[in-house]
Symmetry: C2
């Protein structure tokens, strides 16, 4: 029940809490997980069938004599779908009509070659091409996803059918690739993924060679074994990289693998590189949504501040990979900046990839559009849909962590003095639970001594910021509550049984409350959620004179569906009046809208076919008030196609009013 199991990782600060220990009962995530189980997974199975991805396995298993279809990496879509089914805790045969899902696994197992090799693209007439182009043909990428499906099956069901098969494949890979002095073939995968899969396989099996193989693949990269291109991050060793470059998903999967390796090896150069690259990425190359990969060309990171809105690539898989990376960084460090970004990315860069109906997707996520970009039921390159399914299915596993020994320095701390403790000081405060994400849920867990413990969280998050946590059970331990970095409001409070805690919690940190808890103890976290107006660094060229709207963890956008009578480019928000909010339980699975006064300033003269023209004089501009309505960005493109804008113009309060014919002689020097 643990996708990333750092339970025994010597260099990880946090330990996982199994996803099945968490029961979501909220109105945001719980219905989405249900939709994944009831709509997403069955419709994806239909797509896997209709597009020939399952037939490719039937062919490989000798059940069909047909040509192979699709891309060389299409097998991975089936593996990711399998992984999603297991994290959903669904029996395979319960997915699809007539138990169709039950056929998938036996077919895959039958497709494996006697020596362990498994890839439907390189069999029969193509068998001689096996391993001949690691740069472009994705065999190790597919193998990695197969290993991850195996791990999910074993952890979710205890069965080891895939695991047995995947270990055989992994053993073949370990025997094949490595240093020449070991008689192996020096090479690395063109698309990273197998690194994290092999570390996880090591965690599951205890077999150290899988860890060493992951280490080999990370270390051998950057030495031109596959051509030396930045596209595959093969131009420089990982430890030497000073910035994210090349294909975004490959880069981000690589960072996940490196973080997993650090958790096991503690190599300080890895953590230094990870920290350096995270800081560079988030300060120069990240969309406000948390999305990465600005360029359509090569699906790549852009230059510093190259973050176009309409032309954004911002692949859904890159956002998912960023969640995976940030989760690992949080496990390593317990630093709330990573969980802040994880939550932000989840709401604002991952969720936009999935439609309200759970069966249409975005691969590319622009931040501005005029209606041409619409959700699709599938893609010829279909990495994103099953990636969304497996992340959302495993989401309860991201809510909590535990730790047994922690460094308090990154957190603000409230020590509640217990005058009558019967516990040894060594035990007191050494066990902690960490709360990363908030939603109505119940955690059923136990303290290290076996004492049952239940945490009940009641909240309307992400729509309201009041969170009540009730402890059922008792004993000494610490709670680390994530105080979201988005909450800058000074009226933020945290109370224990009605008494405000002192010192007050600091946004962007974990607030530790270490005490001996009593059944019924209640924490109340009050996170005010005013609408925040965000600006971008001036070097982000498209966002000059624009702001974005955020409330709580949710970014907003304007869509034509709610503002049908205006060209969105002609609206200027009035930021001087507080926006109003309204919850709509029946709109797009339930969401909060924002309502802001704006001015509608259509062009003085129509642009017609002009691309440039002299600036019209100010007096002629027709200005009318316009009530603007914003919806969460994740919910866009679920209604009639139209305009969408995340970055919005506004009536700038910082501009000195300058009226025509007003001379300001005292302020401006004369020129010769």
């Amino acid at each position: 029940m643990i996708p990333v199991d750092t339970s025994h990782s010597p260099y990880a600060k946090l330990r996982p809490v199994p996803l099945n220990a968490v029961t979501l009962s909220d109105s945001f995530w719980a219905p989405r997980l249900r939709t994944v189980r009831e709509v997403t997974l069955p419709t994806q199975l239909t797509q896997l069938e209709q597009t020939g991805r399952l037939d490719n396995f039937r062919r490989a298993a000798g059940l069909l004599d047909i040509p192979r279809k699709g891309y060389v990496f299409d097998d991975s879509d089936v593996y990711k779908w399998l992984e999603a089914v297991y994290w959903s805790l669904l029996p395979l045969s319960h997915v699809g009509e007539g138990g169709q899902g039950g056929e998938v696994l036996p077919t895959i197992l039958a497709a494996q070659q006697p020596d362990g090799y498994l890839n439907t693209a390189f069999m029969f007439d193509k068998a001689a091409q096996r391993w001949t182009n690691l740069r472009d043909w994705h065999e190790l990428y597919c193998a990695g996803h197969y290993i991850q499906a195996a791990i999910a099956q074993t952890r979710a069901t205890g069965d080891e059918q895939i695991l047995t098969s995947a270990r055989k494949f992994a053993d073949l890979i370990c025997d094949t690739f490595g240093p020449a002095e070991q008689g192996k073939r020096p090479s690395v995968p063109g698309h990273q993924e197998i690194e994290m899969a092999l570390v996880e396989l090591y965690r599951l099996t205890g077999e150290r060679k899988y860890l060493e193989q992951a280490q080999y693949f990370l270390d051998a990269r950057g030495h031109s074994l596959i051509g030396g291109s930045p596209y595959q991050q093969d131009h420089q060793p990982f430890r030497d990289l000073d910035r994210p470059v090349g294909h975004a998903v490959r880069f981000l999967y690589m960072t996940c693998g490196a973080a997993d390796l650090y958790a096991e090896t503690g190599d300080p150069a890895l953590l230094e590189a990870l920290t350096r690259l995270w800081e560079r990425a988030t300060s120069r190359q990240m969309y406000l949504t948390g999305g990465f990969g600005a360029r359509h060309t090569d699906e790549a990171f852009g230059d510093d501040y190259e973050l176009p809105n309409r032309q954004a690539y911002c692949e859904t898989c890159a956002a998912i990979a960023s969640v995976m990376w940030n989760y690992r960084m949080a496990l390593l460090t317990g630093d709330a900046r990573y969980t802040d970004l994880l939550e932000h990315t989840l709401f604002n860069a991952v969720l936009p990839g999935l439609s309200a109906d759970g069966q249409h997707y975005f691969y590319v996520n622009p931040l501005a559009n005029d209606g041409a970009h619409t959700r699709q039921p599938w893609f010829s390159c279909a990495c994103c849909p099953p990636n969304l399914a497996r992340l959302i299915a495993s989401l309860p596993g991201y809510f909590y962590s535990s730790s047994n020994d922690f460094n308090r320095s990154p957190s603000s701390t409230t020590e509640v003095v217990t005058t009558n403790s019967s516990l040894g000081s060594n035990d007191f405060s050494r066990f902690s639970l960490w709360l990363h994400l908030y939603a109505d849920n119940t955690l059923r867990y136990s303290l290290p001594d076996g004492t049952p413990l239940t945490l009940d969280i009641r909240t309307e998050y992400p729509w309201q910021g009041d969170i009540t946590l009730t402890v059922h059970g008792q004993g000494p331990f610490a709670l680390h509550l994530r105080i979201p970095g988005w909450c800058a409001d000074p009226t933020l409070t945290l109370t224990l049984n009605g008494t405000p805690l002192d010192p007050a919690p600091i946004p962007g940190t974990y607030h530790e409350i270490s005490r001996s808890w009593t059944d019924g103890d209640t924490l109340t976290l009050h996170l005010p959620m005013p609408v925040c107006f965000l600006e971008a660094h001036p070097a982000v060229a498209e966002n000059t004179g624009k702001i974005a709207l955020q409330r709580g963890p949710i970014l907003y956008c304007l869509e034509s569906a709610d503002n049908p009578t205006a060209n969105l480019d002609d609206l200027f928000l009035d930021l001087m009046q507080p926006p109003q909010t309204q919850y709509h339980p029946d709109l797009l699975n339930g969401l909060m809208t924002l309502h802001l006064p704006a001015e509608h300033r259509p062009p003085v003269e129509p642009w017609n076919h002009h691309l440039y023209r002299p600036l019209p004089s100010a007096q002629l501009q027709a200005v009318t008030p316009f009530p603007a309505t914003a919806i969460p960005y994740y919910a866009w493109a679920n209604r009639t196609p139209g305009q969408m804008r995340l970055w919005l113009k506004f009536m700038s309060p910082s501009f000195t009013p300058v009226l025509p014919n007003t001379q300001k002689n005292s302020e401006t020097p004369a020129h010769a």
Copy 2:
């Protein structure tokens, strides 16, 4: 002396005036032409030598036994350089030290194969690869430039050495490529160019098969003979294209070839496509500079309104190609919109490619930069430097045209009644001279009956807009003066011998003055040159809240060299006070600077590593007056590297002043 000779083209409205009929004596172009002769051409010869481009010909001629160097298209750089030398009216042996230039031509001629084939990349061991990859290997592109060098030599010197050789090559091409039913090989060049060369060769020789071959290459394109990619515009027939797409230079060379074909054939579908594509390109895909090709990827046109400033590609060759296309469109139609854009592109997109010292170049022309983009003495792909040389060397040929029969509808007309004309009405007004560009110069020409005619133009254009034209000689003819479209000032005047003409001339048209001229007649055109503030269509995302400065035909930019104490992104121009101008004869070959008051608004708090943040409150912003200095955009990057911005922020006069805590209840509706 005529690069594009429409003298006998049945469907061209205008006829060329030879470039050697025009003597430039101005302080803008004349020194630049001298620099091309004295600096650019000799230093380019050195580059051709040092980079092995001349050795490739020596090798091909059997004079050297060395490996071939460089790209498959490197021969074309030598041909374009040759063409530039001829249009400069320089003897080849006068270029370079020790008469080095004189060696070039004999070596090329000796490199030609017995059957006429000439390309140094496909000889000896590579001879079998001849014509095997028309899509990528540029043999026909190089052949086109060889033909154009031949035409230049013959027209400039009367010699036919290259012409004899180039015809042999052209004959081979005509015998090789064509419809299968003629026993030929159906294919088209991956990089267009030869189409216009073959039409010009037809014009020079009268050999119709060259015209037919050009027609074949245009018509066969778009039928997937070379793969069907939009990159080479092979996805759709030219006549069906609805928008510019793919590699910009290839597209623009194709339009030149299509315009040349129309001039000879009158096929209305060609003119319709040319007009449609011009209107689409200029209304959706053109930088304010006139530059084309927004994307680095594929050196391609972007989507509609995809015009990033910092990331602009905007290849110098694409601007040159646009000048060539617009010139041809003007020849076909006599429509001033084409010469308006020709002039604008020349000053603002072509000239920026050439350094003030005449020996450093830009291939890529961003509209914003922070100092990293610097001029280079050469490029491994060196198409732009000799392309600049040949265009500037032939520039006097772009100043005038003539016509013998014209349609008056696109022009505003002043008919000066001559009460005592002794001329037959058939002759009167049928001969016209068209003035496209303005600079101090003398035209020595003759009327159709042989009467000598001299026009003397005296002006400080482009720095001042007063132009005096004196006619020496007499007779009946019309003058068509281009009234630049950039001049929107109502005080524009045109006088004949001191008397204002009525009706007044209309900017963006040719103003016709048809009369019997007397020796000493003087026209005075007064074009006021206030600084114009330009805005971009709202869909050009990076230019929101920004303006550009233009004065006369010249676009301006801010550079750190003139504004060293401010981050240019923190300057907001005050548009309410008229900018001051100052001419600097010794700055970068002489130029006019603009001086504008601005406000310096550094960030309230330093951004440090933040990429996004809450909008600071207005009261905190420190604002200081700042005297900003702008220079012509063409002159940027000739001094210490620093910031450059063409699009500039300003203190918006159209924004209603909104101050914090000011409620505007009456204007904005309440929201539920």
